[in-house]
Subunit: 427 residues, 2 copies
């Protein structure tokens, strides 16, 4: 397969993340090789997380888009109009596929740009424009093309979700938490696009246009934000068993496709109520599917750049991908049998016989194998005379635990078989 | 684009679900038309949920696979060997793409079949083989090809997850709950493949082969099930703040790719701990992504058939899909402005001034607009002399609520602006 030469316009977090991914592509699973033909950004000499001095610099995005040696134009400039739009149009007119992370551009001008792409017979891809590293655009368009979607909804702005999560967790006001988020880089210096709901509205409009085969008309979207949420609203909702989240939704109604972004009160058991901090999550409901939920990092240079790279990998047209996606230039790995060397905390459950010193003999046996106890729960004896005991251990090797269980099997103070289960921590 | 003619082998729940989807394809978003060239199954005269008498019947899956008018062979027979394998091989040798939902076949013979597909230059697709309606195979292979996967894990057997969820919820034994699940059709008459962990092992082996560019070797997979889980294990784990789930995982280690299926104790905050009943969920961890989680219905005729259809839609090779996936034969919808006609329960928060009759005037104003109160929470007055009140209403129109809020704005007993938020129930 022929390598693809990228023209990268925009070198912020996502652009730099993409350059890093191209340089580390041996670790990825691309169908073939990707190279960088040239780069451009507003300022050439800004301090960046990667050194781009080895790449050809173009003075304008439009010039890069039109360069005959660029196979794929990657637009990471941002903004619904101005240089981003001009460069994307130039690339499509020059018959080059475009990959973009620009939600404002696609939400405001997506229909016209899709037509232009069609007229020129090239792809316009924007996985990274919706929910960063969460793979929902292509999934909805292709993998879920066999379902009839009734509703698509989600938490699509990590800043808003971080603000409301943090207000509730710390009991602090919206203004306080926003100021801290700005200091930490979780919110922009001008947070208006995020907190007003506009950013989430861009994303839900794009998803709805795909889900419902609809003509995207951003002017019809109803938009509300989190700016006037009071801590009191969040705490009272929680005390009544609910969670407040900024929810974006697109619904198929008799009047057409209705998109709305607004804070909502969710039942605590609602799948979107579990999405905390800066995560994004999208729920697709349809027939004959029921519902699926896709969650993950909705922003950030790395995750968003990986979504751009996923789109780029779709553009190797000349070859079919193998069934498992393997390619000859990949490092092909082998399956291996599980070793018992891994270390973890363990859950150990036994039944103690009703004899004196039973618990002591249990803890002695564990100590002998170097197993130390973190938590222990013993119930009073059941009708059969045995008392159930559950132990949570500190980190310990699987082999040690197996030896300890062998010891326990030989103790007369242990009734029946001990049960050993590995514990997986949340991370 | 040319229509695709399917040969469907196997007419169980998934096969019948697929026939229904083909017949209702106007409601889907396929790139072009799909038709049924012929069908086959073990028994011609079985009672089925769809009438297949209008389709050409073939006496063997192999004959159907070899028919010159079949463009895509769909294998829904099941079983790692026997007629399913013979027919898939016949189709690939005849240069026809294959779509299958057969996890045992792909886990046991996937590498050889992928080679055969390559040699014949055709696709072998198996989205439906892993986690039914959850779109993870193509997402992992294509959308996530720009990340380096470190670990893929999940809840991949709905029967096991239903059994453990149900034991804990009802306090009943494994044997009791299994017997009930069999009666309700949630577990097979012979549940061995499911409860032993083998089914989940098939699925994690397939995902691992994709995620790590690995040579799938099913004999290396370590397999444990839920058959010997005691209710006591589940309840004690819960009392210690954990949840027990059958977890399948594939990890990249220095020795190679290690796949393991076993019950695990999860921290209650772990994303997979929230997956209840027969749902499936897959978590992909990698760089520079972090982690994404995809959840949904892991089985069932409809969801699995929709995954088959998603694969079929990939096989329309002659045309590029438009940016939003729209096609001329789709019903193209329009965006519409949100109306205020929808009915929902509402969360209403106000601050009551410290005057007598304040609560009465509040509830009067609501009653006048037909808003009835489900729950009410009033705190004692804050330092500013106002007492916060939150109300959860019964179902009520948005317009009614807006009028009620207007009324409240005019009451001297209400301080500041009332806050109205729509409640979304879990469903």
């Amino acid at each position: 397969m022929k390598p693809l030469r990228l023209g990268i316009a925009g070198l912020g977090h996502v652009g730099c993340g993409l350059v890093e991914l191209v340089e580390a592509q041996a670790r990825l699973r691309l169908p073939a090789q990707v190279s960088i033909r040239g780069v451009t950004a507003r300022s050439r000499n800004r301090n960046r997380s990667v050194d781009v001095s080895g790449y050809d610099w173009f003075d304008s995005a439009e010039a890069l888009a039109a360069d005959p040696d660029v196979d794929v134009f990657v637009e990471l400039i941002g903004g619904s109009d101005g240089p981003a739009k001009l460069a994307v149009e130039a690339a499509l007119r020059a018959g080059k596929p475009v990959v973009t992370a620009n939600k404002a551009l696609i939400a405001e001008h997506g229909m016209a740009l899709a037509r232009l792409a069609d007229e020129n017979g090239v792809d316009l891809l924007f996985e990274a424009a919706v929910a960063g590293g969460v793979p929902i655009v292509r999934t909805l368009r292709d993998s879920l093309s066999g379902i009839e979607v009734r509703r698509v909804s989600g938490i699509l702005n990590g800043t808003c979700n971080f603000l409301t999560s943090e207000m509730l967790a710390t009991g602090r006001s919206y203004a306080d938490v926003l100021a801290e988020a700005q200091k930490l880089g979780f919110a922009e210096a001008d947070p208006t696009l995020d907190v007003s709901g506009t950013d989430a509205a861009h994303k839900i409009a794009i998803l709805s246009a795909i889900a419902f085969s609809a003509n995207l008309d951003f002017s019809k979207v109803s938009i509300g934000g989190v700016e006037d949420l009071d801590l009191l609203d969040l705490t009272f909702a929680e005390r009544l068993g609910y969670t407040v989240k900024l929810i974006a939704e697109g619904v198929l109604t008799d009047d057409g496709v209705v998109c709305r972004v607004e804070p909502k009160v969710l039942e605590a058991s609602h799948p979107l109520a579990q999405i905390h901090g800066s995560l994004n999550s999208v729920r697709v409901e349809g027939e004959p599917l029921g519902a699926i939920v896709v969650s993950g990092p909705g922003a950030g240079g790395g995750p968003t750049a990986s979504a751009v790279m996923g789109d780029v990998s779709k553009l190797f047209r000349t070859g079919r991908r193998t069934a498992f996606g393997h390619a000859e230039h990949h490092l092909i790995r082998e399956f291996a049998v599980a070793a018992d060397t891994e270390s973890a905390p363990w859950f150990l459950r036994v039944r103690l016989a009703d004899v004196s010193g039973a618990l002591a003999s249990l803890s002695d046996a564990l100590a002998k194998e170097g197993v130390s106890i973190d938590k222990l729960l013993q119930d009073s004896a059941h009708e059969d005379g045995t008392a159930p005991v559950a132990i949570v251990t500190h980190q310990c090797g699987r082999a040690n635990m197996a030896r300890a269980v062998n010891q326990l099997n030989q103790l007369s103070s242990i009734a029946g078989k001990p049960r050993l289960i590995r514990i997986e921590m949340d991370h």
